[in-house]
């Protein structure tokens, strides 16, 4: 991904890309605000896969305080995290 593309990929786009990824992986429709942990959609293996996916796809490092539950609850919250880490 080039710098300009990276800069223009706003939060909504990231969220959309993440719901597609989640749909692809979980084989169910996932809305941007669905709570992955509360609904049991995400197991522990998948949680870590998500971290690696976010890091690789969006070129961020997710460590320490950013590994909070709130950051991973939904596609939208993950998009928020990525946007924040990139700025």
């Amino acid at each position: 991904m080039s710098d300009t593309e990276t800069a223009s990929a706003d939060e909504a786009e990231i969220s959309a890309s993440l719901t597609r990824y989640l749909h692809d992986k979980l084989k169910v429709e996932v809305a941007p605000d669905d709570d992955l942990f509360a609904t049991g959609l995400a197991n522990s293996m998948f949680a870590m896969e998500l971290v690696v996916h976010l890091e690789q796809t969006f070129g961020v490092m997710i460590e320490g305080q950013d590994l909070k539950l709130d950051n991973f609850r939904s596609a939208r919250s993950m998009a928020g995290l990525v946007t924040r880490l990139r700025s």
Binding site: K25, L26, K27, F37, A42, N43, S44, M45, A47, M48, E49, V51, V52, H53, E55, Q56, E63, G64, Q65, D66, L67, K68, L69, D70, F72
Partner: protein
């Protein structure tokens, strides 16, 4: 990689020098001299993947894997301590904030020893049942709970304790000498006898809130999987080491021991054991290498690759060690002997960091979800 053969030979010579021919004695005594562990720790060899900026060796997973296999071929107890130390360092790297990384990682490469405590009497395979509480209040945290079978805890200066926070879970770095901590060694473990397994009781242990990695509140499943990922990688390579030690012992014995006028190596039924051991050692090496390369390349499927490597390597190690004892027969049938240790040590590798059944569940799910 710029790290040449020389450095590799150097670190192996150093380890060989510290370990010598004593793993058998350590096994019988149920203890490794702390001086040996501290020296390996100071050399950064117990957690060699710690980045250089934290005074670590900055090894890749693959390079650390080969190192782990080497240590595992000498002594699975020592390798277990290494697994715990590496898992502790990895957990700090992943969960800690910048200040905590700066505070703890140089300790872990500077001779301090660490263990990681997940399991409780009611929370073994099912870690969602963890009951240990981390209560946050003002500038301190209070830890209450009881952990069991914590590898390396009897040697540890620091125990990383996994517990529940108000929201989600957390890992607290507990000094072993903090008031309210009681560490009690497991008597007579089946294998890895000198790995310092112990139970850890925590009664109202008060620590500054800086001891709670990343401020806590991480999802328990994520936290557990993160830490275990390193442990699984390390166990996979450790089992490669067990298989290498067995292969060496068995080929040497088959060449030199004569029965019915021929070396054992000329009895076909014995040769089959050799062939199977070679296949086991090679298969375990290849899957572990693959998982390490996924890890080093940041591939999301590293998570599954790691479980697959741990599963296959430990299952092969159990089978391989059993056939090694078979071929050595009475020559390998005393405690402390390399194949006798392998036989007992390997079995435990099928239980820890996700038992074979738990690995099968994960891998089965993966097969279904493709």
């Amino acid at each position: 990689m710029s790290t040449g053969v020389t450095e590799e030979t150097g670190e192996r010579a150093l380890i060989a020098g510290l370990v010598g021919d004593r793993p058998g004695v350590w096994d019988l005594a149920g203890e490794i001299p702390t001086a040996v562990l501290r020296e390996l720790g100071r050399q950064g060899l117990l957690c060699a993947q710690v980045p250089e900026r934290y005074t670590g060796r900055g090894y890749t997973s693959e390079r650390n894997g080969e190192l782990t296999a080497y240590v595992g071929s000498l002594c699975s107890s020592l390798r277990s301590v290494m697994t715990s130390q590496g898992m502790a360092a990895w957990t700090v790297q992943r969960l800690a904030d910048a200040g905590q990384r700066q505070a703890y990682l140089p300790l872990l490469t500077g001779g301090k020893l660490a263990a990681v405590a997940f399991s409780e009497t009611e929370a073994g395979s099912d870690l969602s049942a963890i009951g240990t509480r981390i209560t946050e209040g003002g500038d301190e945290v209070v830890v209450d709970g009881a952990k069991v079978w914590v590898t390396g805890a009897s040697y540890a200066d620091l125990v990383l304790v996994v517990g529940r926070c108000t929201d989600g879970a957390g890992v607290v770095v507990v000094p072993a000498d903090a008031p309210g901590v009681r560490i009690e060694k497991v008597a007579d473990p089946l294998g890895c006898r000198a790995a310092g397994h112990a139970s850890v009781r925590l009664d109202s242990v008060r620590l500054p809130s800086s001891a709670l990695l990343g401020g806590g509140g991480q999802p328990l499943p994520l936290l557990v999987t993160t830490a275990l990922a390193y442990g699984r990688m390390s166990v996979a390579w450790g089992c490669v080491g067990i298989l290498r030690a067995c292969l060496d012992a068995v080929t040497e014995h088959a060449r030199t021991r004569y029965q019915s006028g021929r070396p054992l190596a000329e009895h076909q039924l014995v040769v089959r054991h050799l062939a199977e051991l070679l296949v086991a050692e090679q298969s375990a090496t290849r899957v572990s290498e693959h998982a390490s390369r996924c890890w080093d390349g940041g591939a999301p499927d590293q998570v599954t690759a790691t479980v697959l490597a741990k599963y296959l390597s430990s299952v092969h190690a159990v089978r391989g060690a059993a056939s090694a004892v078979q071929v050595l027969a009475s020559a390998g049938a005393t405690d402390g002997h390399v194949v006798a240790r392998a036989y007992r040590d390997a079995k435990l590798m099928e239980i820890i960091e996700g038992s074979s059944e738990i690995c099968q569940l994960i891998l089965g799910q993966h097969a279904l979800s493709r």
